[in-house]
């Protein structure tokens, strides 16, 4: 009896107005979405094996060029196999593979079907140039200006890292760590040249 009467008694008005509450919740949800999107972007690479490489320019160090130009866009290299190697002068494992990469480049250079691009990651310009001279590296090389290239690959937790892009501009293979032989590099490139497309990391 009294229960029914009690339930019908209007509750006194207290606290923040409904419209204000809605605004607060909307703002909070929008912030959560922003933070979530930021975390997702930070944790997931923009590209992964099988995805098309977005276009980016590589401005080369003084003395380096590709077909006479000091800057190359990845979109200009469609139809060729592209090998992108991230390195740094302070990186000891990079030194282990420097000679092998150069040897592999010289092996493929004449045919012009494979392009090697070296990208100095978080390196000072002078040290990077000294490293290139020390290992007599001749393939196109440039700094990762503004860390824009490494942010596309989002694999910037260390060097060396090497990315193999097929003739169709799609990422086909990733090598984390140094190569131990020229044959290892060739074993990854040759199937891509033959359009035989194995994928793997």
């Amino acid at each position: 009896m009294t229960e029914e009467q009690t339930n019908t008694t209007p509750a006194p008005k207290r606290g923040v107005r409904l419209s204000t509450q809605i605004i607060i919740w909307v703002v909070l949800m929008a912030l959560l979405v922003l933070v979530g999107l930021g975390l997702k972007k930070a944790q997931n690479p923009i590209i992964s094996i099988g995805s098309e490489i977005p276009d980016f320019p590589l401005t080369m160090f003084e003395g380096y060029s590709y077909q006479g130009a000091s800057e190359v866009n990845i979109s200009d290299l469609q139809g060729k196999v592209v090998v992108i190697n991230f390195w740094a002068s302070w990186c000891k494992p990079c030194e282990q593979e420097a000679a092998e990469l150069e040897e592999a480049w010289r092996f493929y250079e004449e045919d012009g079907e494979v392009v090697f691009l070296g990208i100095a990651w978080t390196d000072t310009p002078d040290n990077a140039k000294s490293y290139l001279e020390r290992f007599d590296i001749t393939y196109p090389n440039g700094p990762d200006l503004g860390s824009r290239i490494s942010s596309i690959f989002n694999r910037n937790l260390g060097v060396p890292e090497t990315y193999f892009i097929g003739r169709d501009g799609v990422l086909r293979s990733i090598k984390i760590g140094p190569f131990t032989s020229v044959q290892e590099i060739q074993a990854t490139i040759n199937p891509l040249l033959a359009d035989n497309i194995p994928t793997g990391e």
């Binding site: 923040v16 000072t124 002078d126 503004g146």
Partner: protein
């Protein structure tokens, strides 16, 4: 006379060289000067360690680059801009005030002001509730109470009536 001329010339040359050497030594930036800028930056290799205390080779090289730029007479702003251009804005400990980065600077003060406002409203509501209850108990403002009796009072009155009936 000729001898005096040569001695004077020798002393002058020696003095000039000494001053030039001391001046060159004085222009070498100290670790403190380098670290004053380095502590405002992070290298991407070790994202959670400020550049001034990071022990990696990469960070040592960055500090040396700062030292070289200071020796070349570059200002702090120019050095930081060089690093941003070369390595990206992520090297800065304090994000640049552009785009969505503004949220980092604007939101905390807004959140504090909003929090203070909500707290103020809540405290005012509580203080009003606590001051209005004794008035009803002492009979002050009886007309208002009759016009708008509180639900608690009604409930208590009904409970008392029920208890009386049971007795």
């Amino acid at each position: 006379m000729k001898r005096l001329f040569w001695i004077t010339t020798f002393i002058l040359v020696l003095s000039t060289l000494t001053v030039a050497t001391v001046s060159a030594q004085g222009s070498t930036p100290t670790d403190d000067e380098v670290n004053a800028i380095a502590k405002q930056m992070y290298c991407p290799v070790c994202e959670n360690t400020p550049l001034d205390v990071c022990p990696t080779t990469a960070c040592k090289e960055w500090r040396e680059e700062i030292r070289g730029m200071l020796a070349d007479g570059k200002s702090e702003a120019e050095i930081k801009q060089h690093f941003v251009d070369y390595y990206g804005a992520r090297v800065l400990a304090e994000p640049p005030r552009t785009g969505l980065n503004w949220l980092l600077y604007v939101l905390p003060p807004i959140a504090i002001v909003a929090g203070v406002f909500v707290l103020f409203r809540a405290l005012r509501a509580w203080s009003q509730a606590s001051t209005s209850s004794p008035q009803r108990a002492t009979g002050a403002g009886a007309d208002e109470d009759e016009a708008a009796p509180s639900s608690d009072d009604e409930y208590i009155a009904r409970m008392e009536e029920e208890l009386r009936k049971r007795d």
